[in-house]
């Protein structure tokens, strides 16, 4: 088995960054780091309104001074009134500050065309993955025989797979169809489920929409098929929707699984058990470091809900600043508010930036032999396919690396660009990809594409 240590790449990147800081000479002045889905690290500025409210909540003297806009101060005052002792340093109720949870449920209802959302079914957590992990803890019985299985997409967000295995579960991949823009075919779900026979006991189906790493936005039709499949096969549906604000394709529209389920009507809408996840880390806010996310649970057994409550209660609660960030995400400035013009300008800028970036990525990479890139309809990443020459694959083998890791290591050394090897995301065997963040200022994207193009052209030549 090949030695697959992906940390070698990020460790080398840190070394190079350090060497650059010490002004050692390199063919480039700085490393362009688009490895993580981290907008701020990639150069995107935080939203002013969000940071102003957080600052005022942290240091309430600002509520009474004229430094900040009046709606910021009002919002901070309201939020502080909802915190125990008027401080963001207090614990909160387990699921989150009740007023915030309530407003999140209102956001969900509004987003979903009126489908009701019960605040009692929502838990705020330090990041959506934390909540996902808690739900998985309930689903996965590490002592069961056969082991608990969870269907996850190929390619997938690797942390989820890692978490499932860490809890003693088994991941059962269902492959998205790259040729058809990463479409999810229900036949493939059937194949995956059948493959699990005798190997594990599948209890849940995990979907990511919009996708990570692949940049698809699922159609209503696909989602209905997924829901019907989950219902028929008695699978718990886990819907990871953290990139719902990142929709770039003109014809694409984000629909939540909750909404689609609700609009399918009874009996499905009353019986399919669903957990939907959202986060303050992605989208326009990009507040990864705050660690704020939530889960909405639908149609769960009441006794199971009680256990879930107890589980979340041992975590005490999510950080208060994170809860506030979620509140600001789901209840942003409205037209007429003093902060609205700036807020609108900043979010519009980010949206335009993402649309522009994915267009450029599509153009540039598809013009390079050895690359093929599907349109990035949504999500935070591009996941283009590498068609590597046999000599490159051979060299990678000699270096005991997966071919895409070899490509990324060389790209880092020679061009100072850090992207993620696609192997970590578990795509179809024998295919190679790279993944990079597209939520980054346009000039960073241009510079990256320029360096990547030059490097790639040379690389293909060297290994032809």
């Amino acid at each position: 088995m090949k030695k697959l240590d992906y940390t070698v790449l990020t460790r080398r990147a840190n070394q190079i960054k350090e060497e650059l800081r010490q002004e050692l000479r390199k063919p480039y002045k700085q490393v362009i780091d688009l490895y993580w889905g981290d907008p701020h690290a990639a150069g995107v500025k935080p939203l002013s309104f969000v940071r102003q409210v957080l600052a005022a909540c942290l240091y309430p003297d600002l509520v009474n001074s004229n430094t900040l806009p009046v709606d910021v101060r009002q919002r901070a005052q309201r939020l502080l009134g909802e915190c125990a002792g008027g401080s963001v340093g207090s614990y909160t109720a387990t699921a989150g500050i009740p007023e915030i949870v309530h407003r999140i449920s209102e956001f969900i209802t509004k987003r979903d065309g009126g489908a009701p959302s019960d605040p009692e079914n929502i838990y705020i957590s330090p990041g959506s993955q934390w909540a996902l992990r808690n739900i998985l803890k309930v689903l996965v019985n590490s002592q069961a025989s056969p082991r608990t299985g969870v269907l996850t997409p190929g390619p997938c967000y690797p942390l989820t797979n890692f978490t499932i295995k860490g809890l003693g579960g088994v991941t059962v991949p269902y492959y998205l169809s790259e040729e058809q823009g990463w479409e999810l075919h229900v036949g493939e779900l059937h194949r995956a489920l059948d493959s699990a026979k005798g190997l594990c006991n599948p209890v849940a189906l995990y979907v990511i929409n919009p996708g990570n790493p692949a940049g698809y936005v699922q159609s209503r039709k696909t989602m209905q098929e997924v829901i019907r499949f989950a219902s028929e096969k008695r699978l718990f549906l886990l819907a990871d929707e953290v990139y719902q604000e990142c929709v770039h394709g003109e014809k694409s529209e984000f629909l939540s699984y909750k909404r689609v389920l609700s609009e399918m009507g009874p009996p499905l809408s009353d019986t399919v058990e669903l957990a939907s996840f959202h986060s303050a880390s992605k989208g326009f806010m990009g507040e990864c470091g705050l660690r704020g996310g939530y889960v909405e649970l639908v149609n769960l057994d009441p006794d199971v809900m009680k256990c879930i409550y107890k589980l979340f209660s041992t975590d005490t609660c999510a950080p208060v600043l994170s809860q506030i960030a979620l509140d600001l995400m789901t209840d942003p400035p409205q037209p007429g508010d003093p902060s609205y013009p700036l807020y609108s300008e900043e979010t519009q800028h980010i949206k335009t930036m993402m649309v522009h970036n994915v267009k450029r990525v599509f153009e540039v990479l598809n013009s390079l032999p050895g690359f093929s890139c599907k349109p990035v309809e949504g999500g935070g990443f591009a996941f283009p396919r590498l068609h590597l020459p046999p000599k490159a694959i051979q060299k990678a083998k000699e270096m005991e690396m997966e071919p895409d890791l070899f490509y990324c290591m060389t790209l880092l050394e020679e061009a100072g660009v850090l992207v993620k090897p696609g192997m970590e995301n578990g795509p179809k065997e024998g295919t190679h990809h790279i993944r990079f963040c597209i939520i980054t200022p346009d000039d960073t994207m241009e510079e990256m594409l320029s360096r990547l193009s030059s490097f790639h052209t040379q690389f293909m030549k060297d290994f032809s």
Binding site: D33, W36, D38, P39, H40, A41, P46, S48, R51, A55, L58, Y59, T67, C83, A84, G85, S87, V88, S90, Y91, T92, P116, E120, N121, P126, Q129, W130, R133, K137, V138, L139, N141, S142, Q143, S145, P146, K165, G166, G169, V170, G198, N201, F236, P266, S269, T271, E273, G289, R291, N299, D301, P302, V304, K306, Y309, L311, S313, T314, T316, P319
Partner: protein
Amino acid sequence: MSATRMQLLSPRNVRLLSRGRNELLAGAGPRVCSLTSPPLSSSSPGRALSSLSATRRGLPKEKMSENGVSSRAKVLTIDNMNPTVKKVEYAVRGPIVQRALELERELSEGMKKPFVEVIKANIGDAHAMGQQPITFFRQVLALCSYPELLNDSSFPEDAKSRARRILQSCGGNSIGSYSASQGIESVRQDVARYIERRDGGVPCDPDNIFLTTGASDGIVTMLKLLVCGEGETRTGVMISIPQYPLYSAALAELAAVQVNYYLNEEKCWSMDLSELQRSLDEARRHCNPRALCVINPGNPTGQVQSRQCIEDVIRFAAKERLFLMADEVYQDNVYAEGCQFHSFKKVLFDMGPEYSDIVELASFHSTSKCYMGECGFRGGYMEIINLDEEVRAQLTKLVSVRLCPPVPGQALMDLVVNPPQIGEPSYDKFSKERSATLSVLAEKAKLTEQVLNTVKGISCNPVQGAMYSFPRISIPEKAIKEATDKGQQADMFYCMKLLEETGICLVPGSGFGQRDGTYHFRMTILPSTDKLKILLNKVKEFHQKFTEQYS
């Protein structure tokens, strides 16, 4: 000492985070989780997507009528869910707190009660009870949050330079970027220097510091690493009785064996070596005890262990090959004269290489307690000593699952370990605020002990440190019987009555563990001095009345 001593946590016996073994399981039977579901009917099921459930979280629910409730069995049920999760209980946020919240709601809706407010003395949340944050900390964090404020002259220069330094260590100069999973490097370095200063120069390697989402996160992570084996070789973890119920909850969830050792109530809740030995020997008959957890200063008991005691515990751990877990989140909360906080790390190293080279230790700290009381930030760290290299690699993988701890919490921890120094603009105010907070806590600790000890039937050990009192209460036989008839623990029965009659919310001792036949409650010393006096008097009155009523 020539022989290299094999470390307790070696890769062989740590539960490795291996990729799922996709081995073919012979004779896999029918799917466990599906109950035979009756054919779907078209009648309206009981759980429509639109129905707002009447269930309040966690509260026992009125049984809904069975007719029409979903004709289709749930996919995820109590019977097929992960069984270990069912065993998780966490008294601090348990049923009594739910009832207290309900009462608050009822009061706010104008319902008449025998009290005008609910006093929540159940949770160690200082700010909720009116303690003020440290100004300097909040200024720096506000500057980090909205760096435009660096141009604002109302913020002191030292706060600004701290904020700049923190922002420089963040990706994109934003606290909204992910940090490394182990935590921001410059913060870990500052933590290491703090530990060195605190421990009189004993060296600390920043690589041994892991920043965490509150201390709880670190504790649970280490327990995960420790727990393995099956049946008689299943890991046992020694924990004090009484204990902070995070431990019992985590051990239940991990299906580890909880090995109880009793603290000595007669000797101010001190640790008793002979009791440790008894507990260990007994446990060895049915499990494999590998770890010893100590909370110092203690929660719920408030004792501050003597240096001698800590040395004895270290010797015991060395001799019996136990991994030491030292929960030291209350390290600045020491009030009683003659008491002093001694870190396990310092004592260990003072004992020389015979011990410091081999005893495996994890120490935990947090931003939630002490004089900061910033629970809502979920900031914490752990220091790992003498951990096997390969196990360390597993630990690094484990913490990556959390992505990273909240960056504001990391920033706050940086300030806690690196506060204003003499001569800096913010020093005077900082120093005053810190002293004031700690001295008020000390006064309240004393007051609590004094008042409770005037009550016949209540006896309270000195609150030497931490934030709680854990007095022993005598409950009359009649009351015990009534409680049993109700299916309640006697101290839960007592505390529920106390809540209903006085609005005071405490946590029954059964939530923390206590010797059979004894009863306690845990109350915090955090309400303002005025409220605390009211609380203590009400408890006194209630106890007298309760005792009479059930005599």
